[in-house]
C-alpha cells in the first residue's frame, strides 16, 4: 500500500515537472491536465499515509515514531500531519491542489499568462515534491516493525490543533499561487486590471485560511497550555503573523491595481514577498533555529535545505522583479490625500509592522551569533508593534471613504470632533465607572471607532438604509472585516490590561476566593482515558446567584511520558472564568492542590473579531455578475 503511495508520489513529481515544462512553454491545456493528474496522484499517495496511520501500521517508520494504537481515531488521522515528514507531504499536496484548482478556475482570457502561472506553480510543486521524496521521505519502512508506536506529542491531541496545520498550510501554500501569478504577470509584462482581479481572488483564498489557522492555533494555546493568555509573541506565532501582515497589505494594494492600474510593481513585489515570508515561517518553525515553547518537529539539516529553497525562490523572483518591474508603471495621477494615498499608508504601516515582528524575532538570533544571549518578548512588541498599528487603525475610518485620485477634506473637522468626543466619553466612563486604566479606555474607544466607522461607511455606500442589503458582497466583506478588527481590538485590549490572575491552594473540601468567585474544591479524583490517566478536580464556583462546576484536569500520557493541562472554562457572559490544575503541595501541614485561576474579560471578542475578518474575506471572494 505504502509502496504504491510512494510510487504515486514519484509519478506526481513527474506530473509537476510536466506542468512546469508545458506551462512555461505556454501550453495552458496540458499544463492544466498535468496539474490535475499530479493532484490526483499525490492525493492517493497522501491517503495511503493517512490509511497507515488509521490502521496503526508500525512497519512504517513515520507511524511507529508518531502514533499509538490507543489514540482516538481523529488523532490517529491528524497524526499524519502532526510531524515533519507528514506535514511536508500535506504541504506538497496543497501545492498541487492550488495548481489543479487554478487550472479549473482561471478564466482571464489570457492563455499564455495562465499557462505561465501554472508552469511557475508546477516549479514550486516540483520543489516541494523533490524535498519530500529526497530529503524528508515519509514512506520509509521499519523492519522489524515494533508492536507499539511512540505516540504523538500529547499537546497535539486536541481538536483545534488537528485542523490548525491544514488551515495554516492552505494559507501559506495559497500564497504559492499568488507568487506564481505575480511571476507569470511579470513574464507577460502585464500587471493590470485583469491580472489584479485574478490575483485578488487567490490572495483572499490564502488569507482566509491563514487567518483562521492562526486563530485556531491561538485558541488552542489559550485553553491547552493553561497560561490564560492567547498570544505569547513566541517565535513560532510570529512566524505565522508575518505572512499574515504582508498578505493583509497585499489585499489592499491589489485593490489599487484592480481599480486604477496603479501600484502594479509594488503589488507584484508583495505577492512575491507573501510567499517568501510563508516559506520563511515554515523554515523558522521546522529548523529549530529559534527556541520556542511549541517547536514540534524540528530538524536543523532539513532547515538548511528549506533555507536554500527559500533563497532560490527569492533570488529568481526578485531577479524577475528587477528585470520586468521597471516597465510596470501606473498611469493614472493621484495626490497624497486620496484613496491611493490612504492605501499606500496602509501598506507602509503593515509592512513596517511585519518588519518589526521580523526584527524582534530574529534579533536574539543575531545577538547570539555575536556572542550575546538576550531575549525579546511581549514588552518589546507592546511598545513598538502596537503603537505603530494603532496609528493606522485610528486613520482607517477617516480615510476609507476617500475618493480615488484626490479626496476632499471638507469633513475632517467632523471626524476630529467625533473622535475626540469618543475618546472623552470612554476616558470618563473607563476611569469613572468601569475603573479601568486610561490605556484600556483608549483601546475601547479605538475598537468602537473602528466598528462605528465601518458601519458608517456601509451606510454611506448604501446611500439609504433600505439599500444596505443590496450593496455588493465586497462592500459587506470590507465592512465585516473592519468591524472584526474593532471587536478584536476591544477584546485584546481589555483582556490584556484587565486580566485577573491568581493562584489558590485548596485542600479537599476547602474554599478560596478568586476574581470575586468563591471556589470550593469538592474532590480530586483519578480517571483514565484511552491513552492517558489524569487527576481531575471538581471545583464549585459561586458568585452572587450563579453556581458552576469547573473540572480542570492534569493528564499524564505514559507513551510519551508527558503531562498536559486540561483547563476548565466557564463563560460568564463578560469573560471566561478559567482554572488550571497545578501540583499538589503541602501548605500549613496540609496537602493542598494548587490552582491557577484567571478571569479573562471579553476574550471571546478576540476570536469573534478574527472570525469576522475571515467571514469578510470569504464575502469579498464572491463573484458578482454585472
Amino acid at each position: 500500500m505504502i509502496e504504491a503511495g510512494h510510487f504515486a508520489a514519484f509519478l506526481a513529481l513527474g506530473a509537476a515537472l510536466a506542468q512546469t515544462i508545458f506551462g512555461l512553454k505556454g501550453d495552458r491545456r496540458w499544463a492544466g491536465m498535468s496539474a490535475v493528474t499530479g493532484f490526483g496522484l499525490m492525493a492517493f499517495s497522501f491517503l495511503t499515509l493517512v490509511h497507515a496511520f488509521a490502521v496503526s501500521d508500525f512497519s512504517l517508520l513515520l507511524v511507529a515514531n508518531n502514533s499509538h494504537t490507543l489514540k482516538p481515531m481523529l488523532y490517529k488521522i491528524a497524526g499524519t500531519w502532526g510531524n515533519h515528514e507528514g506535514s511536508m507531504a500535506l504541504w506538497a499536496l496543497v501545492t498541487f491542489a492550488f495548481g489543479a484548482a487554478a487550472a479549473a478556475l482561471m478564466k482571464t482570457g489570457r492563455v499564455n499568462f495562465e499557462a505561465h502561472a501554472l508552469g511557475v506553480q508546477g516549479f514550486l510543486t516540483a520543489g516541494a515534491m523533490g524535498y519530500l521524496l529526497f530529503a524528508s521521505s515519509p514512506y520509509l519502512r521499519l523492519d522489524p516493525a515494533p508492536f507499539q508506536g511512540a505516540g504523538l506529542n500529547p499537546l497535539l491531541q486536541d481538536p483545534a490543533l488537528s485542523f490548525h496545520p491544514p488551515m495554516l498550510y492552505l494559507g501559506y501554500v495559497g500564497y504559492s499561487f499568488v507568487f506564481a501569478l505575480a511571476a507569470a504577470g511579470m513574464m507577460d509584462g502585464r500587471i493590470d486590471r485583469v491580472w489584479a482581479k485574478e490575483a485578488r481572488r487567490w490572495s483572499l483564498a490564502a488569507f482566509v485560511p491563514l487567518t483562521l489557522g492562526i486563530a485556531l492555533g491561538s485558541y488552542w494555546a489559550y485553553y491547552e497550555l493553561g497560561w490564560g493568555g492567547w498570544w505569547f509573541w513566541d517565535p513560532v506565532e510570529n512566524a505565522s503573523l508575518m505572512p499574515w501582515l504582508i498578505g493583509a497589505a497585499l489585499l489592499h494594494s491589489v485593490i489599487v491595481t484592480e481599480k486604477r492600474e496603479n501600484f502594479a510593481a509594488w503589488t507584484a513585489l508583495l505577492s512575491v514577498l507573501a510567499f517568501l515570508f510563508s516559506i520563511m515561517g515554515a523554515f523558522l518553525v521546522r529548523s529549530g533555529v529559534l527556541t520556542s515553547v511549541h517547536a514540534f518537529a524540528v530538524d536543523p539539516e532539513r532547515g538548511t535545505i528549506l533555507l536554500f529553497g527559500l533563497m532560490v525562490y527569492g533570488v529568481l523572483a526578485l531577479g524577475l522583479f528587477v528585470w520586468r518591474g521597471p516597465s510596470l508603471k501606473g498611469a493614472k495621477p493621484w495626490l497624497i490625500v486620496s484613496r491611493e494615498g490612504a492605501l499606500m499608508a496602509n501598506n507602509i504601516v503593515l509592512i513596517v509592522a511585519a518588519l518589526t515582528v521580523l526584527l524582534g524575532t530574529l534579533f536574539p538570533l543575531m545577538a547570539e551569533a555575536a556572542g550575546r544571549t538576550m531575549s525579546v518578548g511581549e514588552p518589546y512588541f507592546r511598545l513598538t508593534f502596537v503603537p505603530i498599528l494603532a496609528v493606522l487603525l485610528v486613520l482607517l475610518p477617516v480615510a476609507q471613504n476617500w475618493a480615488w485620485g484626490k479626496a476632499d477634506l471638507k469633513q475632517w473637522t467632523r471626524w476630529a470632533i467625533a473622535g475626540a468626543a469618543l475618546v472623552a466619553v470612554f476616558a470618563a466612563l473607563g476611569i469613572g465607572i468601569w475603573k479601568i486604566s486610561l490605556g484600556a479606555a483608549f483601546g475601547l474607544a479605538l475598537g468602537v471607532w473602528l466598528i462605528g466607522g465601518a458601519l458608517w461607511e456601509l451606510r454611506r455606500r448604501a446611500v439609504t438604509l433600505k439599500r444596505v442589503f443590496r450593496v455588493s458582497p465586497r462592500v459587506w466583506g470590507m465592512t465585516l472585516a473592519h468591524m472584526g478588527i474593532g471587536l478584536f481590538i476591544i477584546g485584546a485590549v481589555i483582556e490584556t490590561t484587565e486580566r485577573y490572575e491568581t493562584t489558590v491552594a485548596l485542600a479537599e473540601g476547602g474554599s478560596g476566593e478568586a476574581a470575586g468567585w468563591t471556589l470550593t474544591l469538592e474532590d480530586v479524583r483519578s480517571i483514565e482515558g484511552p491513552n492517558w490517566y489524569a487527576d481531575k478536580a471538581v471545583l464549585t464556583a459561586v458568585k452572587g446567584g450563579v453556581t458552576t462546576v469547573l473540572q480542570p484536569m492534569k493528564r499524564y500520557y505514559p507513551a510519551a511520558r508527558m503531562p498536559t493541562t486540561e483547563t476548565a472554562i466557564f463563560k460568564t457572559g463578560t469573560g471566561d472564568l478559567y482554572a488550571a490544575l497545578g501540583e499538589q503541595r503541602v501548605v500549613d501541614g496540609q496537602a493542598r492542590w494548587v490552582f491557577r485561576v484567571y478571569f479573562n474579560p471579553l476574550i471571546d471578542f478576540v476570536y469573534f473579531g478574527v472570525l469576522l475578518i475571515g467571514l469578510g474575506g470569504c464575502l469579498s471572494m464572491v463573484k458578482v455578475k454585472r
Binding site: V293, I348, E378, W404, V586
Partner: protein, 132 residues
C-alpha cells in the same frame, strides 16, 4: 510510574500573593517580563519549574520591600544576565537599533511614500469608489 510522576510534582511552598493589591499587580507585571532561566521561552509567571517559583518569590520580596521595577530588573540581570529580560535594554547601540528600528523604518517608509506621491501632476480627477 504513576507514583513516581506524582512524587515529582509535589513541592513544598506555594505562591503566596502580596497583601497589597497594587504591589501584587506590579509583581505580576514583572513576572510576565522576566524569563524563566530553565525553560524554553516562558516568562516566570507561567512556568512550573522550581527556579521560576524561586524567581517569583524573589520578585514579590523585592516589590514588598519597596524596590522599583527597574531595581528588580537590574537585580535579575546582574544575577542571570540580560537573557532574563523579555524587555531588552535600550541603552547600548544594538538595543537602540532594536527599539528605534521600527520607528526609523516607519519614518523612512513614510518619506518614500510622501516623495512618491509628490512627484504627481497637478491635474487630478476625483473619482468616487463605488465598489471595493
Amino acid at each position: 510510574m504513576k507514583a513516581l510522576f506524582l512524587s515529582l510534582v509535589i513541592a513544598l511552598a506555594a505562591d503566596v500573593p502580596l497583601d497589597n493589591p497594587a504591589e501584587e499587580a506590579r509583581a505580576q507585571a514583572l513576572m510576565r517580563e522576566l524569563r524563566c532561566v530553565a525553560c524554553e521561552n516562558e516568562p516566570v509567571s507561567q512556568s512550573a519549574a522550581p527556579i521560576a517559583e524561586d524567581m517569583r518569590t524573589r520578585i514579590r520580596e523585592m516589590v514588598g520591600e519597596g524596590s522599583t521595577d527597574q531595581e528588580v530588573r537590574d537585580w535579575f540581570e546582574s544575577r542571570y544576565g540580560e537573557f532574563v529580560l523579555f524587555r531588552p535594554k535600550g541603552n547600548n547601540l544594538s538595543g537602540m537599533l532594536l527599539w528605534l528600528g521600527p520607528f526609523l523604518l516607519l519614518a523612512i517608509g513614510g518619506l518614500i511614500g510622501f516623495l512618491t506621491a509628490r512627484r504627481k501632476r497637478t491635474v487630478v480627477d476625483q473619482i468616487e469608489s463605488e465598489d471595493v
